[in-house]
Symmetry: C2
Subunit: 210 residues, 2 copies
DNA sequence: GACGCAATCACATGAAGATGTGATTTGCTC
DNA sequence: GAGCAAATCACATCTTCATGTGATTGCGTC
């Protein structure tokens, strides 16, 4: 028997989902609250559910803030977002906060039921549009992360040395060139990157700006 | 009509999938190759399919390398991985390379068909286990990224100054303290982090190791 | 109230870095 | 083959950094 909890402020939707899920013979849905605060209070006094359906827009604390708090105190609860928001920022923040799935609100009741089952079996239910956004999160970096300053390969070597925390002397040894050559390269690097200290070069490099 | 291509070296599996998909009245599957090289050759001479099912373990070039090449020349092709591998590294690399979905090979034919439909409709089909791994990719950073060295807040301020590329003098000015105080803090920071240069502190910080 | 710790400041010294002004060699392009 | 960029090296000078030693103040704890 899967224990399901709901945090949703729209009474109609909440009741509808609760009744439907509670009606299933492999699920029980008793805890249905309209705010994170109430749910937290409930959790303090009752056995924790296995799965929590959570809205984002809620009175008081937002669902996303709620995820963090709930996951911190009850890490074993699987949180499934059920919301109208499909902007990358909210999706991303929810997942980072600890949600294990993300459904859009137009999802049908049987699909919600399936998703909950999927979740307890180790899946991560997502509406197709959401899945696509999540995937794009991986694609983007690859194509966008090329501000590509035009450092020569030798200059890039030197930058790598700096990032590794090496001194000029150590860099010179690593590439078997003189320390004055290292200085010369660094001078050129500074000009190209418009900086004037090792520190800035390292920072730029590690931020992916080189 | 959805044009589907297949790159899969196991003849039995390849033929099975091809026949099944080609049998569907909304799909056509003519191009079925057993290597990326062959598929690239085929693509050069024929109209590109809408979706490409791709294995990872292949003779010659790996499927993951293939994704990049194919996506580069034919960015409009949606690539759906169909493989036995479920290790995070392969999943992650596939997605970064440009795959739009990732199915495990035990997926049934009807499910593969549905996934292809889902894909062309803008979804990102994934087996539940895969979805979970992808989601965990977001969770992990949040929970693990706390190596939390115990720098005091003042020390953290100084580190931020260093990361911003400031000199000791500039840091002193920013926080309105003497340069010798900055030196003192930095000495302590070096001790705590077991480093001995600005560069290493900046690198550590930007790598999230502080 | 003794103790530890964070935060502040001081003085000193040797090492590392930043910058200026050169120069030579190699390889590519027009 | 003149012109140019990249890579190499040299010497000089001034600034910044790393490190040692030491001190004062304030805050929380046992």
């Amino acid at each position: 028997m899967i224990e399901v909890g709901i945090v949703e402020d729209n009474v109609k939707i909440r009741n509808l989902i609760q009744r439907y899920l509670d009606m299933q013979d492999n699920m029980s849905c008793k805890a249905a609250m309209d705010s994170v605060e109430e749910m937290l209070e409930h959790l303090g006094e009752h056995k924790a559910p296995d799965v929590l359906l959570m809205d984002i827009q809620l009175p008081g604390m937002s669902g996303i803030e709620g995820i963090g708090l709930i996951k911190k105190k009850y890490p074993e609860i699987e949180i499934l977002m059920l919301t109208v928001y499909h902007d990358s920022h909210k999706i991303f923040n929810s997942l980072v906060a600890g949600a294990s799935g993300y459904l859009l609100k137009h999802t049908s009741l049987p699909e919600i039921k399936e998703s909950i089952e999927n979740l307890v079996e180790g899946g991560a239910p997502m509406s197709p549009q959401i899945a696509r956004k999540v995937i794009e999160h991986f694609n983007k970096p690859e194509t966008e992360k090329k501000p590509e300053s035009d450092l020569t390969s030798r200059e890039q070597d030197i930058v790598n040395g700096l990032v590794d925390g090496l001194s000029y002397k150590m860099i010179a040894d690593r590439f078997d060139i003189s320390i004055d050559t290292v200085r010369a390269h660094i001078r050129n690097i500074y000009k190209k990157l418009h900086v004037n200290s090792k520190a800035e070069v390292i920072a730029k490099s590690l931020r992916g700006e080189i």
